[in-house]
Symmetry: C2
Subunit: 315 residues, 2 copies
């Protein structure tokens, strides 16, 4: 077993025959050999680390589940995750540039994507590899670089069908100002399914921000209308908790659904029907996209409806 063969197995496993690879790995396990990762990565001109910018998690804790999935998927790819913080928008790009220039990371995973997020175009223009959880713009617009997202339009259409099965006809969609394209897509899914089912046009309202208080304000105004909705499809669990609070304040029997299936969904009373994003699978697809030569590929995954007391949809 030559030193070069061992090196190839560790650094370029695809160049080595399967039988050889198995033999080398068995020997490594037997000897308890631990390569010096830093020296090895320096020789291979790579950091062995992916950069991930930690956001403020306005989802009520759902991004914690994504981070766990991403940490595991990165480990399974033989690398680790390096955490950093950066200012939002273009102001923060210096941090990304430094991490690449210092060879601290090989690529980035982007999340917490906002409408018109400049990071994708900025990184793509400089040839810096990345993959994005989330889309920057409304469907149809081009987005640089590979991305994964959950098909919120389709999940919200299924929520509307479920609410219809519970007898609801006047359904409102609750989004927030400045939300990303993927979140606006959730409203489009509601509208088109309502039209298909011959229901009245969905009232779409925008809360001032993705917070419980802003959601409560928006739904209080909604419930004061002459013909208020009997169900609200909210674009996030946080807004849905605000909607429940508004309904409880005016003793309305409003059905409410959320999105994210965060720790909040199970903690509030009534517990919240929500859409679970498959965070583990999203992370695995992001890692797969990072290792692909083909760029600009998008993957849309289905969300799973988790039915609870706030809108006991049959699933």
């Amino acid at each position: 077993m030559s030193r070069q063969t061992v090196s190839n197995v560790l650094n370029f496993p695809d160049r080595v025959a399967t039988a050889t690879r198995d033999r080398v790995l068995a020997a490594i396990a037997r000897l308890g050999y631990r390569p010096d990762l830093r020296a090895r990565n320096l020789a291979a001109r790579r950091a062995g680390l992916l950069g991930y910018c930690l956001g403020d998690d306005g989802t009520g804790g759902a991004m914690g589940s994504f981070l766990r999935g991403l940490t595991r998927a990165t480990e399974e790819s033989g690398r680790h995750l390096l955490l950093f913080t950066a200012a939002p928008g273009l102001d923060g790009m210096g941090v990304y540039a430094d991490l690449i220039a210092q060879r601290a990371v090989d690529a980035f995973v982007l999340a917490d994507v906002v409408h018109g997020d400049p990071r994708h175009a900025w990184l793509a223009a400089r040839g810096i590899p990345f993959a994005s959880f989330g889309r920057t713009s409304l469907l149809g617009a081009e987005q640089p670089g590979p991305w994964v997202d959950v098909d919120g339009a389709e999940a919200c259409a299924r929520l509307v069908s479920g609410l219809r099965a519970l007898g609801h006809a006047r359904i409102a969609f609750l989004g927030w100002a400045g939300a990303s394209g993927a979140i606006r897509e959730r409203g489009r899914g509601c509208r088109s399914r309502c039209a298909e089912l011959g229901l009245p046009e969905v009232v779409a309202v925008e809360a001032a921000a993705n917070t419980i208080g802003a959601g409560e304000c928006a739904v209080r105004l909604l419930l004061a209308r002459p013909e208020p909705p009997t169900a609200v499809v909210a674009a996030s669990d946080v807004l849905a908790v605000g909607a429940l609070r508004a309904a409880s304040a005016v003793r309305s029997e409003l059905a409410v659904t959320g999105f994210d299936d965060s720790p909040l969904a199970d903690a509030v009373s009534p517990a919240l029907t929500s859409v679970r994003q498959p965070m583990g699978e999203i992370a695995e697809v992001l890692l797969a996209l990072l290792s692909e030569p083909r760029q600009d590929r998008g993957v849309l995954l289905p969300g799973a409806i988790v039915s609870r007391a706030s809108a006991p949809i049959p699933v």
Copy 2:
């Protein structure tokens, strides 16, 4: 300006006179010089990374706030955080050993500490540097290595005084089976303040686990007793949400306090009085302890009571 001086400024800033350091840093900024971090760290025989094992966050999202604080504090110390996952207990120590042997990290920050956690003794025995957010054992027992914790006993004593001011006399403490020493301390704080105030002995109950459902079960049993408590001090927000649910099921006007000030606290109705742990400060002290030569130092920080409708304590 010699090459050695520049190198000293970057790698051993304490060895260089302030004026020289300022001059070199200004020149670096002017030239837009970015050192190759990997080569630089390899020469200095360090990774420039701290390892942090991502837990399952049973706190309802409060650990997200600690992770943000830790990421920022690590950046301010000129390093970054490397995330990893490992099995609980001794089974996971191979991952820690590998990260050190491969020189992927220089030290560890431990959190999610459980009762009898073996990691501290294991790392200390091998001379691997670490600092711990949390204590492994009841007060008085020795714990290897430096640690930071929040003084839960003192915070819970203040909660008891606040509940007394609201007219409560029969106060129960709700913990969970297998909780860490720091969490048992919270119960001790309740008991001793009740004794000081001449209140009846605190009923201490243990939920089967730190979950909403287990908290609800435990408090339902508590409320079915002949002389039920009128207030519950819960060892976590998650348990407190369960206590609120149990009280609502039997239409009891139970006052409830939580611990962690997680996103749940503001989302449930009534909103939860809780204890905020100063996560940013905890992270900064952990980083300071890691750079100190003196080992086995413990730092106890005060928690802040955040008063809400579930127990509107005057603060």
